[in-house]
């Protein structure tokens, strides 16, 4: 179309295709994500670290170093993402499209598991199912006299269950937002034509929500394969390794080269899977479901299945929310981890310093470090949610409206990259990247800005993915008519796209806030004494055997996350027709 003419006509053609916008977004994402990662790759290509590639891929170590962990990682990715889409999709369908009892409660509870740090859920699993394999304290079930077999106490099975129960709420959030925007015209037309519920589900709802299902599956896959805490806690006693635990172990013992190679391979492998998912979505022509007309359809009547389905939903939700929270809270009061429900004390919360107790560490309310960390953490959460959604909106708008061309494909792929990079590696890359001055930019090491920039880049996939699922559904025709009447890009974005997509964007913002507030892996290297964050403080307590303080802080993180979600739900209530009766 463009034949290289530099006339004003030619410029307009370029602009109309979104080329300028695409280039800007691509440059931004390159600076945020690609450059730090390139530094990591270059590191492994140095003459003295290059041998790491052959160690990992072909040497005598490769089976244990790479191929076995790879098999476990892929198994986790596939099973967890499938399970999450099924569970999340089932709950989203119940909440959005049916008349199941207590839809509101189910809707709120289904967003909670994601706010519980996955290591807390893994610890809770151990508290309940731990057997006598590693001696010491056995879990609750073993204590009741059941003989818990190894396969249920440790290794791949509990890892799959814990990760599925952790990530399904991510799938729920994305799928529910998409289901809520399914155009009633389509459903009503089908109903008039005499289609039954199942036919409507497979013929209309599933096809138009495909982007959301693929997005949800992709995010869960990427999250599951790079999760460290759960396989580390549940897999190690039976020597189950994944690529992320391998990577962590290699960096821990100073074999950074091998660690980075494993990290790079993890990125590539996940990239292949996500690319395949992306192909499925972009192969279809249009997913616009919010158009200039149409309203809400009637809910499906579940009839006699209402209560049984409600019961199934509640079992899933209790197992994934209430149980881990009870264990977490109980262990913030119990002086000995051996007796979770006896000898409770409030010292870890409101005790003053006492040299004979917990080495003189005061309760978290009186601990100045923790109070300061709380302030920094909240500020960080808000800042990253804000900057993340701006960049995420730009990126998702660009790829949704200007889907053609390699630049869009590149933007999509790049915006996914951080998901596949274990946080600790991303943090290390960022220190190398922005730690030292670049030209006029001073060294950002130890500043709030570095935390915000790295956090924004690291969580961009969530912003882009949720934004994209929503924006793709805002029909291009509305914007088209605005452009015909002469509205510019910013005006169109502000007056049409943002207001219509605000629900999805807010959902994305909350996800980001919650993720950064409870994130450990990214900030563990980026934190500095002047910029403490809660999760690192909790981690330091946990690693020094002060599990109760760690759990108390985790409860605080949890409370912040849940409060954020509830406030957001309240703010959104007016624009959430699917929750109205």
């Amino acid at each position: 179309m463009s034949d290289g003419s530099i006339s004003s006509q030619g410029r307009r053609v370029l602009f109309r295709q979104g080329t300028v916008l695409k280039i800007i977004v691509l440059a931004l994402l390159t600076a945020l994500i690609v450059l730090p990662l390139i530094r990591t790759v270059l590191f492994t290509l140095q003459p003295d670290t290059f041998v790491a590639w052959s160690d990992v891929l072909i040497g005598r170590l490769s089976t244990n170093l790479f191929y076995k962990p790879l098999a476990n990682t892929l198994l986790i990715g596939v099973v967890v993402s499938t399970g999450c889409v099924l569970l999340g999709g089932f709950l989203a369908w119940l909440v959005v499209m049916t008349n199941v009892p207590y839809r509101r409660t189910i809707g709120v509870m289904a967003t909670l598991p994601f706010m519980i740090p996955s290591f807390a859920a893994a610890l809770a699993w151990g508290t309940l199912f731990r057997n006598d394999r590693i001696g010491g304290q056995v879990g609750w079930f073993q204590g009741l006299g059941f003989d818990v077999p190894n396969w249920l106490a440790w290794g791949i099975v509990p890892t799959l269950i814990v990760l599925t129960l952790h990530y399904f709420s991510l799938a729920f959030t994305i799928i529910a937002a998409a289901l809520a925007t399914v155009n009633s015209d389509l459903v009503e037309a089908a109903q008039i034509a005499g289609a039954k519920g199942r036919r409507i589900l497979t013929g209309i709802i599933l096809p138009v929500t495909t982007p959301a299902l693929v997005a949800a599956g992709s995010l869960c896959f990427a999250g599951a394969v790079s999760n460290f805490a759960t396989p580390a806690l549940l897999g190690l006693p039976v020597r189950m390794q994944t690529l992320s635990t391998r990577l962590f172990g290699m960096i821990e013992v100073g074999q950074v080269g091998r660690g980075y190679v494993i990290g790079i391979l993890l990125v590539l492998i996940s990239g292949v899977f996500l690319w395949a998912g992306n192909r499925i979505v972009s192969g279809r022509r249009s997913y616009a479901t919010i158009t200039g007309k149409g309203g809400r359809a009637k809910r499906f009547d579940l009839r006699s299945a209402r209560w049984p389905l409600f019961a199934i939903a509640m079992i899933i939700l209790l197992a994934s929310t209430v149980v881990p929270v009870i264990v977490l809270v109980a262990s913030s009061f119990a002086p000995s981890s051996a007796n979770l429900f006896s000898g409770w004390t409030t010292h870890y919360w409101i005790g003053t310093s006492n040299p004979s107790f917990a080495q003189g560490v005061p309760g978290i309310v009186y601990n100045a470090d923790i109070v300061r960390a709380l302030t920094v953490t909240l500020a960080l959460g808000v800042a990253v949610a804000f900057t993340g959604m701006i960049v995420g909106l730009l990126a998702s708008y660009t790829t949704a409206r200007f889907r053609e061309g390699w630049v869009s494909a590149a933007i999509t792929q790049i915006s996914f990259l951080p998901l596949l990079v274990p946080g600790i590696a991303f943090g290390a890359a960022y220190i190398a990247y922005l730690g030292a001055p670049i030209g006029p930019v001073p060294a950002l090491y130890g500043t709030f800005a570095l935390l915000v920039i790295a956090g924004t880049a690291y969580l961009l996939p969530f912003a882009v993915q949720t934004g994209r699922a929503v924006i793709q559904q805002v029909g291009g025709e509305l914007e088209e008519s605005a452009r015909i009447t002469g509205a510019g890009f910013v005006r169109r974005l502000a007056a049409i796209t943002v207001p219509l997509a605000v629900r999805g964007l807010a959902a994305g913002g909350i996800l980001i806030f919650v993720k950064i507030v409870r994130d450990l892996s990214l900030v563990v290297l980026l934190f500095t004494p002047t910029m403490p964050v809660l999760s690192v403080v909790a981690y330091r307590y946990a690693s020094e055997g002060f599990g109760q303080f760690a759990n108390a802080i985790t409860v605080v993180i949890l409370a912040i996350s849940i409060a954020a979600t509830l406030i957001a739900n309240r703010l959104q209530a007016k624009s959430q027709p699917w929750l109205k009766d």
């Binding site: 190690l236 051996a338 003189g360 190398a432 730690g435």
Partner: protein, 373 residues
């Protein structure tokens, strides 16, 4: 923030010019001479691999009012990663580095010029030379075989490391994954370095010379047999302590952990005890290092902290040493009497590691363990 930054930039120039002179000059100062300079600096930052820095902080601020000690509890491995990253960024947040993992510290931090040694002149004549060079060791820490004293009132249930490869100990030996914690890799490395002793102990235990079966030496053979016997790997020493130590177990496992964790027996309901009579040795003993940042922001206060952490002139070293004067930690100062509740150092059978020696084959042993998992 801006003011701090501007000051910092201004200061760097002056500082670089005078650093070499000032630092050398300060090395010879006594604590009394350092104090006014340190009070002018007003603050000092310590990276510590142990949470006990919290108690040091309180004690130090009481002893030297007006100097704010900011102690950060960061694992050795993380400190190394952090200090390297900070050096790359041209930032020196820490003034004092309190760390173990010496086999990694020497090549990665000392030889690269990120940290620099300092021995307070006051105690220089009371710390054996081997603990002053290349870096000052404050105390010796351990990773040794511990058993459950309550379940085994007559002493350790094993008398040789080779016992751990017998069927009766299958899936009942616990340690932290040596590929996740440096000091456990040091332990495995030391076992290989002591292959002659391991071969001897094998003969004593089984009454015949060891057959290597493809292993390079007796130490590697032991590691292979240990993993064949389903040794259980966990992620932290506290997991080992709880598994081995919890009172009320009929048949508790045995495991490698820190001797000094015995101090938590009462608080946690454990019965941990060291299996000191095990041949050829129950484990390793290694130094905990105190060093200065090569470019400390508070050079005087930093030296004062190290002076404080080496203990005062009272019998057991006073408040600076109090958190470390516990059974299972061995203070390097020769004039401080050993802790009464611990096996005295000269009777403690653990191998003393030679960090430089460990560093030579450490990665190789890591690879061996990798193939066994």
């Amino acid at each position: 923030m801006n003011v701090t930054k501007a000051t910092r930039f201004g200061a760097i120039g002056i500082f670089l010019a005078s650093a070499a002179y000032a630092d050398g000059h300060m090395d010879a100062m006594t604590a009394e001479e350092l104090l006014p300079l340190a009070q002018q600096e007003g603050a000092v930052t310590v990276y510590s691999f142990t949470s006990r820095i919290g108690r040091v902080e309180a004690a130090f601020e009481e002893a030297y009012p007006g100097i704010d000690l900011q102690g950060f509890d960061i694992s050795s491995t993380e400190q190394i990663a952090r200090l390297k990253a900070e050096a790359q960024a041209g930032v020196a947040n820490a003034d004092v580095i309190y760390i173990s993992d010496v086999p990694v510290v020497l090549p990665e931090l000392l030889e690269t010029g990120i940290i620099t040694p300092y021995v307070p002149p006051r105690v220089a004549d009371r710390v054996p030379q081997e603990y002053q060079s290349p870096l000052l060791a404050q105390r010796l820490s351990t990773k040794v075989l511990m058993y459950n004293e309550a379940a085994n009132p007559n002493g350790a249930p094993v008398d040789s490391l080779w016992d751990l490869t017998r069927d009766e100990w299958a899936a009942r030996v616990i340690m932290v994954d040596p590929l996740q914690r440096g000091d456990y890799l040091d332990l495995m490395t030391e076992i290989v370095l002591r292959s002659d002793e391991m071969a001897q102990a094998y003969e004593t235990e089984f009454g015949e010379a060891i057959m290597l079966d493809g292993a390079a030496n007796a130490g590697e053979k032991f590691i292979m047999d240990l993993f064949d016997n389903d040794v259980i790997l966990v992620s932290s020493t506290d997991d080992v302590n709880a598994a081995v130590g919890v009172i009320g177990q009929d048949n508790p496992p045995i495991g490698f952990t820190s001797y000094s964790d015995r101090r938590d027996n009462e608080d946690e309901g454990w019965a941990l005890q060291v299996a000191n009579s095990v041949v050829p040795a129950p484990g390793i003993i290694f130094p905990a290092i105190l060093a200065l940042s090569a470019t400390p922001k508070n050079p005087a206060a930093a030296r004062l902290v190290i002076d404080f952490l080496m203990g005062d002139e009272t019998e057991t070293g006073g408040p600076g040493l109090a958190p470390f004067y516990v059974a299972g930690d061995y203070v390097t100062r020769s004039d401080i009497p050993p802790h009464p509740d611990a096996v005295p150092l000269d009777e403690f059978a653990a191998w003393r590691i030679d960090p430089a020696e460990t560093a030579t084959i450490r990665a190789e042993i890591g690879d061996l363990i990798l193939t066994l998992q």
